[in-house]
């Protein structure tokens, strides 16, 4: 931290540039692509379909099977062994548990929902970006959910609490705390901590993640609406069903009230 600014010139409460697209894979019922700073993440959802092997079935609700994987070319370190490594297994588990809290699983007893998160390029905070992408993919597949969760990491550099750490900050910070939140109720669905933080610092970190959430949630909702609005736009003059009224339509991706907001597509570095 130099003069209150971080390595890439951001202020402590700034997010990196985020771009979300929904429904980009033709063969998957639900999919999403997220660019979060230098992270590039693809998420796809299949199902619900009959859970196989049969011993994995739950007769009362659907089971979620999640696979988080980093592509061999995604980072400078090696990710090229076949099958998931210890880290991927852990992240798959925590991602699954986030969505077990929001998907209405009781509608599909005995079935499985398969969730894939592929990291194409990584620059710190991929599990947070992966959860954000997977939430959009699930919503775009039509699986009923009570909310669209988002996730962001918060960390500590020196005495400062900072939002959305990149790879370098993540590796050399004093603490790194990925948090997933269900914004409708403000429920925390994931909170992991690598490093040390005081009780007071953790509550500040959770609050910071909550404040950034309004912006991320809006990007998610916009991404989900975009394909429909594009078609509506085409027939705007003739159509009655179209975008929400200007008062409700979240067009502007920058939010002056939101300190973490950055213009979409603007590189944070």
């Amino acid at each position: 931290m130099v003069n209150g600014k971080r390595l890439d010139g951001r202020l402590p409460g700034d997010l990196r540039a985020i771009k979300i697209e929904a429904g980009i894979l033709k063969n998957a019922p639900g999919s999403a692509y997220v660019e979060w700073g230098n992270n590039k993440i693809l998420a796809a959802v299949y199902g619900p379909s009959e859970a196989l092997p049969k011993h994995t079935q739950d007769p009362e609700r659907a089971v979620i099977k999640c696979r988080y994987q980093m592509a061999p070319f995604s980072s400078l370190e090696e990710h090229n062994r076949s099958g998931p490594n210890r880290r991927a297994i852990e992240i798959s588990k925590v991602t699954r548990e986030v969505f077990e809290n929001v998907v209405i699983r009781e509608s599909f007893p005995g079935s499985e929902i398969r969730l894939f998160v592929e990291v194409l390029q990584s620059d710190g905070g991929t599990r947070a970006a992966g959860i954000t992408a997977a939430a959009v993919a699930l919503a775009s597949s039509g699986i009923p959910m009570t909310d669209i969760p988002y996730s962001v990491s918060v960390g500590k550099i020196g005495d400062e609490i900072v939002l959305d750490l990149n790879k370098l900050e993540d590796n050399y910070s004093d603490a790194d705390v990925p948090i997933a939140i269900s914004p409708r109720q403000g429920r925390v669905l994931l909170l992991q901590m690598d490093g040390k933080m005081s009780k007071e610092e953790v509550s500040r970190a959770v609050k910071m993640a909550g404040d950034a959430g309004a912006f991320i949630s809006r990007l998610q909702a916009e991404a989900l609406r975009a394909p429909y609005l594009r078609i509506s736009e085409k027939y705007r003059n003739k159509t009655a069903v179209n975008a929400p009224s200007p008062a409700q339509r979240p067009v502007n991706t920058t939010n002056p009230q939101q300190p973490g907001a950055q213009p979409q597509g603007h590189q944070g570095q």
Binding site: G30, G47, P48, S49, E50, P59, A62, V102, I104, S107, F108, P109, G110, S111, A139, S140, S141, G142, I143, P144, M145, T146, D147, I148, S182, P183, R184, Q185, Q220, A221, L224, R225, Y228, L229, I231, S232, K234, Y235, K238, T239, A240, V241, N242, A243, P244, S245, Q248
Partner: protein, 201 residues
């Protein structure tokens, strides 16, 4: 008319209302899926959603397995179709495309089908289940318009499988894809009519 596109978890009404595909929490009503909400009529029209079987519905499926006294049917959904051998008239084997009626739903949501009819030849189109209502149209007006213009015989399964056979299948497919993509816009009937007219030349 106030219609807006809502996403899962978005508040529909600040009071508890019984609306399909919505849930009530803390005295307010929220959507569970991507849909269009009509403020006046208080209805959700799903944009993305899954098929929930109801008794009496027509479905299209592919016979997956022939097990002595029961046929297992793939309905392209979380639900598995079953046909008891006593309900089968004629020969049905694995791989056959069939049309059937939902006779009964059991607790584990296995769908018991009745009155199967083999659909020979033709092809299957996968349509989003939420678009089937639009594809049929009011009193089947839309699908009748398509079949009349293309001379294709079309069987629409509520589960999202549509079987086409004969006539101008290419034009019929094009019209169905158009409906799938533009179901949420109005004036669609006219555009489909224009497409069919143009294609018929």
């Amino acid at each position: 008319m106030m219609q807006r596109i809502v996403v899962p978890g978005e508040k529909l009404e600040p009071k508890p209302l019984r609306i399909d595909e919505a849930f009530i929490d803390n005295g307010s009503t929220y959507s569970t899926i991507m849909s269009i909400y009509d403020d006046e009529k208080k209805v959700l029209v799903p944009l993305e959603g899954l098929w929930y079987p109801r008794e009496g519905e027509t479905v299209v499926g592919v016979v997956q397995e022939d097990k002595f006294n029961v046929l297992i049917v793939d309905l392209d959904s979380p639900y598995r179709g079953l046909i008891f051998a006593k309900d089968v008239s004629g020969d049905l084997a694995a791989g056959d495309i069939i049309e059937a009626t939902v006779k009964e739903l059991d607790k584990t949501k296995t769908v018991i089908l009745g009155r199967p009819r083999k659909l020979a030849g033709g092809k299957i189109l996968y349509v989003k289940p939420t678009r089937i209502a639009r594809l049929l149209g009011k009193a089947n007006s839309m699908i009748r318009q398509i079949t009349t213009a293309t001379q294709t015989s079309v069987t629409v399964g509520m589960n999202g499988l549509v079987w086409l056979h004969g006539g101008r299948m290419d034009l019929c497919t094009e019209a169905i894809i158009m409906i799938q993509q533009e179901a949420h816009t109005s004036g669609l009937t006219d555009r489909v009519a224009a497409l069919l007219q143009l294609g018929a030349r």
